[in-house]
């Protein structure tokens, strides 16, 4: 299925609860250092669950000019800062427009949640006059649009809104657009910040937030922790990247997606398994070649049991020896940005040959028969890794990361 065009990552950047920078995120994940804490709310909060992996102490004015900032919800602020880091690492510059052969595709579940909530509070509660930039700031497509404007990328530009699979789909679509020959480069990733009063209350109402500690795949797990942030990747056709002297961090070897077509909220093992198989087929590799899986692993009762079952369908007897960890207890579940934050972690795992741990893990659950890399990182050869994202609505997406071949 894959033709001769190989796609590599030449730059990446992130803003997360671990701070600014892809390295900060990867190191927190590798070292098992949780970034979860008491949430800072801008209005009095009446929910019971107050912990999250929020982006804190982030000063957008330190990174973005006053001509750009009024158009930026926090999700766009994180995104632009993450993208600047990725662009710099790729050896590119915003001084020269990227042109029509560069796509800009960004996943976000909601878009400008802070703008939306603040706008509703202002207009409905305070009966105030809305900020004229409310609309351009809150639209999910502001995220890719602001990037395209910043870097002069004039190719396909759009947002992907598939809840928790948004970022992984955005990255996968970018990969396929390059592979198809439609573009040569893609700025891809995801961004989200639903750590707001109304969104936290809504998640609490769904009964999927843990009141104490997120412990994926462990017995006694009782829910997830909301996270926020953004991560951006520069994808390029390998030969073109090599020709301009750019270092390939890793290869993105495959992308798979599927729809359960079953239930709005309940995950389905067959749909998740089909998704992983699609990614393996797209990369033209056998399941035995996967050395590590960065799981969706939300820490909810349903997800982890279903994901374990799906992994069993795909990997069979090999599953017992396959390290499968979730780093969500560290950076939280960043929803539409989750797949992007976790791709940073997966790339780190491949580049440093370390499987990051599933922290807070207590004891095995018969419904989750996976080696969750409990509590301690595991140095081991990782040549190829799989990362999963599964969303409400039954939308699944997976990516396969492979060690970059020698230049």
């Amino acid at each position: 299925m894959a033709d001769s065009r190989r796609i590599v990552v030449t730059g990446m950047g992130a803003v997360s609860a671990a701070g600014v920078g892809a390295a900060a995120l990867w190191e927190a994940a590798r070292d098992g250092r949780s970034c979860v804490g008491e949430t800072h709310f801008i209005r009095p909060y009446r929910g019971r669950i107050r912990i999250s992996a929020q982006v804190q102490d982030f000063d957008p004015a330190a990174y973005l000019t006053s001509s750009v900032l009024p158009f930026c919800d926090p999700v766009t602020q994180y995104l632009l800062v993450a993208a600047d880091e990725a662009i710099a690492q790729a050896g590119l510059t915003s001084a020269k427009p990227m042109g029509p052969r560069t796509a800009t595709i960004i996943g976000t579940g909601v878009g400008g949640m802070h703008t939306l909530e603040n706008g509703l509070h202002l207009t409905l509660v305070e009966q105030g006059r809305p900020d004229p930039l409310t609309v351009p700031r809150l639209i999910p497509s502001a995220c890719p649009s602001m990037l395209s404007i910043r870097y002069g990328s004039m190719g396909p530009c759009f947002a992907v809104a598939s809840a928790c699979s948004s970022a992984t789909q955005a990255i996968g679509i970018g990969l396929h657009l390059i592979r198809s020959g439609l573009v040569d480069r893609a700025i891809v990733g995801g961004t989200e910040d639903c750590v707001t009063n109304s969104a936290m209350l809504a998640w609490e109402a769904l009964r999927v937030l843990t009141p104490d500690s997120c412990r994926p795949f462990s017995k006694g797990r009782n829910g997830m922790i909301l996270g926020a942030g953004s991560a951006v990747f520069i994808l390029e056709e390998a030969e073109l990247a090599r020709a301009r002297g750019a270092e390939a961090l890793v290869e993105i070897a495959g992308y798979g997606t599927s729809a359960d077509a079953k239930d709005p909220v309940r995950p389905d093992a067959q749909g998740a398994a089909a998704c992983m198989r699609n990614a393996l087929a797209d990369a033209s590799i056998d399941p035995s070649e996967i050395d590590y899986v960065n799981a969706h692993g939300t820490g909810t009762t349903a997800n982890d049991a279903t994901e374990s079952e799906a992994l069993g369908i795909v990997f069979g007897d090999q599953l017992a020896k396959l390290p499968v960890s979730s780093t969500k207890p560290i950076h939280g579940h960043a929803l539409g940005a989750a797949g992007a934050l976790e791709l940073v972690v997966t790339i780190g795992a491949v580049r440093e040959n370390v499987a990051p741990p599933t922290i807070n893990w207590r004891e095995a659950d018969a419904k989750c028969p996976v080696d969750a890399v409990p509590n301690e990182a595991r140095p081991m050869p990782i040549r190829t890794a799989l990362t999963n994202s599964f969303a409400f609505g039954g939308i699944n997406a997976s990516l396969i990361v492979r060690r970059a071949f020698a230049a």
Partner: protein, 89 residues
């Protein structure tokens, strides 16, 4: 003891009312022996039921607990009733 037993029965009936309404199931099918699966109650239905119970009884039911293990309506009612009695005391 008798009072407590009566409370439990009353409570159980009120909980069945909620299950019937929020779970959109026929009352005659909502027997104590009926399985959650046979009534086609999904996880989101249980969320709706627990939320309605919280409203009705003014209690907070945490998301962990025996609710996930309940196989029959009777198990679910016992788990919820025990929680309400514990909270109210």
């Amino acid at each position: 003891m008798e009072t407590k037993a009566l409370d439990h029965t009353e409570l159980a009936n009120q909980i069945i009312d909620v299950i019937v309404k929020e779970g959109m199931v026929d009352r005659e099918k909502a027997t104590l022996d009926a399985t959650i699966e046979s009534l086609d109650l999904k996880s989101i239905d249980i969320v709706m039921i627990l939320t309605a119970i919280e409203e009705k009884f003014d209690v907070y039911i945490p998301m962990d607990g025996p609710f996930h293990e309940a196989k029959k309506i009777g198990d679910l009612i016992d788990a919820i009733a025990a929680y309400i009695i514990k909270e109210k005391n």
